[in-house]
């Protein structure tokens, strides 16, 4: 598959604050690519650079084999000529125009004949599930409906690429779930390339073909498909970002690995490579809790009944971890612990990280 967007050596700063430096990304035609990272990491800046609302200080951006921005030569194509569809975080639906007028606008700018505009717009309105609402004003629509108008408007002129900047963060949880699958369905239906920007790792996992993780300093930490990123994180930052994570400090003494400053050896294969100090990382679902050994002996620090799940905070010597069991599993297997009770921990999966990385993330 060829690359439809190429970002080469791009840098962008505001005053003293350098947001992006030396950034290289290539997005393939037809894929759903997500840029995932914490707020302020620069992912929105990158989308704005690709859209043309900002100009890179350094580097080159190429869309569909055309150079749209090049700091070296001064080339720059303004946003209105880049032929992209874009959905903003606040939808940016124009309050003084009806649903129809909003969606028709890109076609109006292309000076298409009235008949054609009418046809295309009404079809798009149906595709996004807004049939019958074409004459409404945005103030009469719910958040989710405004979202759909924004999507329709971005798609109607048949762009080669669609950019979405955190489109779901203003929706409530249920709607967020529904819309993310709808966006994915639209992408497959129209076969367009989607560049999706978000801080929500669940959304990224659910819809992406590939995703890139950015850290707060604007550096890409890992690019890959969702499964790879989740199962084989490049470093602790990626691991922590992709979901709730536990970390146990590990002390090495004479080739053996002990939990914290206690005497218990961690029941897992030791790390490979060198580091001054190690940290064992694992997810709550990687923990198995038992009434008896073998395993790490721990004490229940807190037991929370949350309805469908039991949530446990467990102390192992001077370290602690969190795990969850489904309530019905706990009931059926005598795993309803109380505060203060003893328990034994084994693991289903474990990642080793350099302890320095944990420090970096906790800053």
């Amino acid at each position: 598959m060829e690359d439809i967007i190429k970002v080469e050596g791009v840098a962008k700063g505001y005053g003293k604050h350098q947001v992006l430096q030396n950034l290289d990304i290539a997005i393939k035609k037809g894929e759903c690519f997500t840029l995932l990272g914490p707020s302020g990491c620069g992912k929105t800046v990158l989308i704005r650079l690709i859209a043309g609302h900002e100009v890179p200080d350094e580097g080159k951006i190429i869309i569909d084999d055309t150079v749209v921005a090049d700091s070296a030569t001064g080339e720059y194509i303004p946003p209105e000529r880049r032929g992209l569809g874009i959905v903003f975080q606040d939808y940016a639906v124009w309050p003084h125009m009806t649903v129809f007028e909003n969606i028709a606008y890109p076609l109006k700018m292309e000076k298409r004949p009235k008949q054609e505009i009418n046809e295309l717009v009404m079809k798009m309105i149906e595709v996004v599930g807004m049939k019958g609402l074409d004459k409404r004003l945005p103030s009469e629509l719910s958040g989710g409906q405004q979202q759909r108008v924004a999507l329709a408007r971005a798609l109607v002129a048949d762009p080669s690429v669609m950019l979405l900047d955190e489109p779901l963060s203003n929706l409530d949880a249920n709607l967020r779930e529904e819309m993310r699958f709808e966006i994915k369905a639209l992408q497959r239906k129209f076969g367009i390339t989607v560049l999706f920007v978000t801080h929500d790792q669940e959304v990224a996992l659910a819809i992406s073909d590939r995703l890139a993780i950015m850290d707060a300093k604007g550096n890409i930490r890992q690019i890959g498909n969702p499964y790879d990123i989740f199962e084989n994180p490049a470093d602790l930052f990626v691991f922590k970002f992709m979901g709730i994570a536990n970390f146990l400090h590990i002390n090495e003494k004479g080739g053996k690995f002990y939990v914290g400053s206690g005497q218990q050896e961690i029941p897992w294969e030791g790390p490979k490579g060198t580091a001054a100090n190690w940290v064992a990382g694992f997810r709550p679902s990687d923990v198995e809790i038992h009434r008896q050994g073998p395993g790490l002996k721990g004490t229940i620090h807190r037991a929370n009944f949350l309805g469908a799940t039991m949530d446990y905070a467990i102390d192992i010597d001077d370290e602690s971890l969190r795990t969850e069991i489904e309530t019905h599993t706990a009931i059926n297997n005598d795993l309803m612990f109380q505060e203060g009770e003893e328990c034994y921990i084994t693991f289903k999966a474990l990642h080793w990280f350099d302890a320095e990385q944990l420090k970096e993330v906790e800053e």
């Binding site: 303004p78 903003f88 124009w94 408007r153 080669s160």
Partner: protein
């Protein structure tokens, strides 16, 4: 996708041109006149001289005017604060009947220009010929009037009557916006209503009270009309009236201008201090409701006092609004002042004369309306452009614009008028003195700040993403402005227009300093006719002015209501 190569922003493009024009407008119309005043006040014969400044200030006449300004402003401020806070509390925190109606009723005094009110009160309470005093003296067989309006407290009372809505509005807003759980938590802690009001409600609302009070102080110090009508006869001058008197009686002599600029400087400094204090006070107090549940705040049950207090409020409005208005229309209907106000003596003759025959008044009405329209249009468009630069454009140097834009915020009218005289009377090439243009120029300076505020607020509502979205849809910058920004900003522009047109129509303080025989405004005509002894004509014109103002206000209310639907 259409290819193309456009050069990145070069150093000097259309953005810079607009920035330059905007700065030029603000400098020429606003900053320059004010600077000239300061310059004139401190520089004698081109040399800096603060001793002379001090001497002028300590001349008995000027010093007295300063003291008077302070006394009157203080009395007015205290009075307005008490009245405004009391009514605001009544209307938001008690079970007074017909509260919503009363709330709008208390805003009516805003519509009456206080100098017209002063004229009415003069006719009612001047010590020997005022109608109320005449009746009182006859009824009780005495030569002592019940109240002499030509006094400090007379002036203050009149100002309080028409200024208290400033405090009223601020305190109403604060009380309504306040999070009711702040009072509820005091209640559940064991506090009764009296304790809550004293220890919680009032301290929390104090910033708004102070803010309103400071605004009134500023307004009163800078106000010409009431003191001119009620004070000059007794020799009570404040700063604006003294400036006017000096310049007027000496026909613009050098010494009088000097005195004028010194006094104006005092006004500028006072205004600056008050605005600074007001900003500080407001920035400390933000106790607003955090969305969500809307339970009403605590209400005091007035029980037996409900209807008596309602009656009191209505009587207050009746006394301060209805009575003067009735007097104005009645006196405007008699042939000569002093005639008893009976049905036989009343007619519409004066009104017809003023509207259709008397050139002084006809011209005045025409002048005011055209000046108002011109000033409103010009400031509206200039304001949009300048606000756009400040709010939306990313150009270097727009900080200057923000600073200049804040300047005129309450530079008092007399100061603007004097500065405009200094700037546009021929010293720098253009001489507009004694023409209608000099009044227009000063109106632009005076009201630019209001236009900037209204338009900036409207522009801030138009989020950047709305324009970016249109650009990504294929619209160029200009197309986006036309299709997206202008339609959304139109309501702000319209409100800016009316925010300027109505006050310009009825104002007096500025035009009194700049008028020539043929360039009178309505306010000037009312005042000068009164000075010349043409009491009934003056009053009749005042009546017409009131009708125009009320009609205009109703039109605005109707339009803004339609816009918000």
């Amino acid at each position: 996708m259409a290819g193309g190569t456009i050069k990145k922003d070069s150093g000097f493009g259309i953005a810079q041109v607009i920035l330059f024009i905007s700065i030029a407008i603000l400098v020429i119309f606003v900053a320059w006149p004010v600077l000239l005043i300061l310059f004139n006040a401190f520089f004698v014969d081109g040399k800096f001289n603060s001793v002379d400044f001090y001497n002028v200030l300590t001349e008995p006449e000027t010093f007295q005017a300063l003291i008077n300004s302070l006394i009157i402003a203080s009395m007015t401020t205290i009075g307005s604060t008490i009245v405004g806070t009391f009514f605001a509390w009544l209307v938001t925190r008690t079970d007074l009947p017909y509260k919503t109606f009363m709330k709008s009723l208390f805003l009516v005094p805003f519509m009456l220009p206080s100098f017209i009110g002063a004229l009415a009160w003069k006719m009612l309470l001047s010590p020997h010929s005022g109608y109320i005093n005449k009746w009182f003296m006859a009824a009780f067989n005495t030569t002592e009037p019940i109240f002499d309006i030509y006094t400090y407290h007379g002036i203050s009372c009149v100002e309080v009557m028409y200024l208290f809505p400033f405090v009223f509005i601020q305190v109403c807003g604060a009380l309504e916006r306040m999070d009711p759980t702040l009072e509820e938590s005091a209640r559940i802690s064991g506090a009764g209503l009296f304790t809550i009001t004293r220890k919680i409600t009032i301290p929390l609302v104090m910033p708004s009270i102070m803010s309103g009070a400071l605004l009134i102080m500023l307004y009163s110090m800078a106000h010409f009309g009431t003191v001119a009508v009620l004070g000059i006869e007794q020799g009570i001058y404040n700063i604006p009236t003294l400036i006017y008197e000096k310049i007027h009686e000496s026909a613009g002599s050098f010494a009088s201008i000097r005195t004028g600029t010194v006094l104006a400087t005092v006004l500028i400094v006072s205004a600056a201090c008050i605005i600074w204090a007001q900003q500080k006070v407001l920035s400390k107090g933000h106790y607003q409701i955090i969305g969500g549940k809307s339970f009403r705040p605590m209400e005091l049950k007035l029980r037996g006092l409900r209807y008596p207090l309602l009656f009191f409020c209505l009587a207050y409005i009746g006394f301060t609004i209805l009575l003067p208005t009735v007097i104005i229309f009645m006196v405007g209907g008699v042939e000569t002042y002093g005639l008893p106000l009976t049905w036989e003596n009343l007619s519409l003759d004066n009104y017809k004369y003023i509207l259709f025959e008397y050139d002084v008044t006809r011209d005045a009405i025409f002048n005011s309306v055209t000046l108002g329209l011109a000033a409103a249009f010009i400031t509206m468009f200039a304001g949009v452009m300048i606000s756009y630069v400040i709010v939306k454009m990313k150009v270097r140097g727009k900080g200057i614009l923000e600073f200049l834009g804040m300047l005129p915020f309450s530079v008092p009218g007399s100061v603007i008028a004097l500065g405009v005289i200094l700037a546009w009377s021929g010293q720098f090439g253009i001489n507009l003195y004694n023409t209608v243009w000099i009044i227009l120029v000063s109106y632009i300076a005076r009201y630019m700040a209001f236009s900037l505020k209204a338009n900036s607020a409207a522009l801030e509502q138009v989020h950047d993403s709305l324009m970016e979205a249109s650009r990504s849809c294929g619209a160029s910058m200009w197309q986006s402005l036309k299709d997206i920004v202008i339609p959304l900003v139109r309501p702000g522009m319209v409100s800016a227009f009316f925010l300027i047109f109505l006050p310009a129509l009825r104002e007096l303080t500025v035009s009194i300093m700049l008028y020539a025989p043929t360039t009178r405004t309505i306010g000037v005509a009312i005042y000068t006719l009164n000075e010349d002894g043409e009491t009934v004509m003056s009053t009749a014109l005042a009546g017409i002015a009131l009708i125009i103002i009320v009609l205009g206000q109703m039109l605005i209310n109707h339009l803004t209501k339609k816009a918000s639907e």
